[in-house]
């Protein structure tokens, strides 16, 4: 029983770095592309339009 749990846990960590990087990447994309705070919106305005994000 204990051995089984251990196995699952170890194989689960194989993709943990990738999963964490995906979350980090999506966080960056949300920040530069979606957050509507006016300072961020103004700074990223031209990039959002050029990159196809909904802007206004």
């Amino acid at each position: 029983m204990t051995t089984k749990t251990l196995k699952t846990s170890v194989s689960g960590t194989r993709f943990m770095p990738a999963l964490f990087a995906v979350i980090l990447g999506l966080g960056v994309i949300t920040l530069t592309g979606h957050v509507q705070a006016s300072a961020l919106h103004d700074a990223a305005h031209d990039v959002r339009h050029a990159t196809g994000f909904p802007c206004h």
């Binding site: 960590t13 993709f15 943990m16 770095p17 990087a21 990447g25 990039v47 339009h49 050029a50 206004h56």
Partner: protein, 247 residues
């Protein structure tokens, strides 16, 4: 019994840490390198169209007003702050894309697929379809000043469409059977059959010629951008090759 129980959540192994820094390093290099080139392409080809549209958005120019308007007005020149911020945010955005792409590349390699700068081109095209073409097929790249539905509704639709297209691209690349291809096709079609949020009325003051050129330029530069990003990601992923962490 107790010592076994404490092993259930093992600390991150050196291989795990090494894998994470490899993903991070490759993505940062790919995102920064591609980002600079992409920012230059955008400033060269997309920005003039955007600045032209803004003359109509602000009312400095008006068309259909009786007198013909020149199609070649004087546009604002290079603005160090505005265009500098655009360069920084382009690099940041494409680094975000690179983090997602390189992480998925690492998973694909773990599943036995080879990752090179050459195969990176295909990854780049898949990324373009996922993040740019699929949402842009119904929410066309907007010039400033166009009429559009509520921004939050469009962001939700955009995110859902990107998620669906991303899964579809993975299934097309690695599914390997008819069922996954059929699911991929359904995932690509569904958001557009449901439909993107649309404005109730049209009120855009920008000439259609400028809007069409902007969408074409945004997609064209987008494809070039993602092709560069995919190749760079594959290249830097191999450059950061470590002997034992992937096995």
């Amino acid at each position: 019994m107790t010592p076994h129980m404490t092993c259930v959540t093992p600390p991150a192994s050196p291989a795990t840490k090494q894998m994470f820094s490899r993903i991070l390093t490759s993505a940062l290099f790919a995102g920064a390198a591609a980002g600079v080139l992409i920012a230059l392409l955008q400033l060269l080809f997309v920005q003039p169209v955007l600045l032209h549209a803004e003359l109509y958005e602000t009312g400095a120019l008006v068309h259909f007003g009786g007198t013909a308007v020149s199609a070649h007005p004087e546009l604002p020149s290079f603005d160090a702050v505005r265009d500098g911020l655009s360069i920084v945010f382009t690099m940041l955005t494409y680094t975000g894309y690179a983090l997602v792409m390189v992480a998925l590349m690492s998973m694909a390699q773990n599943l036995g697929h080879s990752i090179t700068a050459r195969s990176g081109l295909l990854w780049g095209i898949a990324g373009f379809v996922t993040f740019h073409l699929a949402p842009g097929f119904s929410l066309a790249p907007e010039v400033p000043g166009v009429a559009a539905a509520d921004v939050v509704e469009r962001q939700i639709w955009w995110s859902a469409t990107v998620a669906a297209a991303g899964v579809a691209m993975w299934l097309l690349a690695f599914g390997g059977n008819m069922v996954s291809y059929a699911i991929a096709a359904a995932l690509l079609l569904l958001p557009h059959l449901v439909g993107a949020p649309e404005p109730d009325t049209f009120a855009g003051p920008v000439p259609t010629e400028i809007g069409a050129l902007f969408a074409a330029r945004a997609f064209g530069v987008g494809l070039a951008a993602w092709s560069l990003l995919g190749c760079f990601a594959g290249y830097f992923w191999n450059l950061e090759e470590i002997s034992d962490a992937t096995t």
